[in-house]
Point group: C2
Chain length 107, copies 2
Amino acid sequence: MDNLSNVLDAISHPSRRAILARLAEGPARVTEIAAPFDMSLNAVSKHLKVLEGAGLIHREKQGRDHVIEINGAPLNLVTTWLHDYERFWSQHLDRLEDHFKEKRRKS
Amino acid sequence: MDNLSNVLDAISHPSRRAILARLAEGPARVTEIAAPFDMSLNAVSKHLKVLEGAGLIHREKQGRDHVIEINGAPLNLVTTWLHDYERFWSQHLDRLEDHFKEKRRKS
């Protein structure tokens, strides 16, 4: 998969978006991330792997713990895609407007 | 799944983004959508179902054909999420800056 697809897939799950929101408040250990959620540590670990694969988090080993930190940079891929898309979209709306103008003119 | 999750899941696949880009140029029949892609009609139909489930397209029956039209509105959910996120993210960067300022002050 390309990077944009990986990022979109990673953020498509509500639990993973909730984890990102938690990490936006500051780095945290896996147990700290899991605490507010009704999820097993195992489930949280799987979600973290998906986020890591998309480059949205990185982890640092501190003694026996893994401290997880957010990396928002790959979200720029989504912003860029949406912007490109809005351009397409507004061209589409322009054409639609022309279409209705033409219709009005004819009637 | 919530709407935002559905939309993100729908656009996470490169073929579905390519289909949306094609539809941004104007409405099209399923066969017309499939033509430029190295995909079976069946594969395209499956992708269209996912896009439809996310509200990103709608289809209109014209005689024996289905004409597919894009609906960009649900993409606003993604834009909103990213904006909320950027707010979190910039707060995080502010705190990081404070952290380094404090470190510099102490050294």
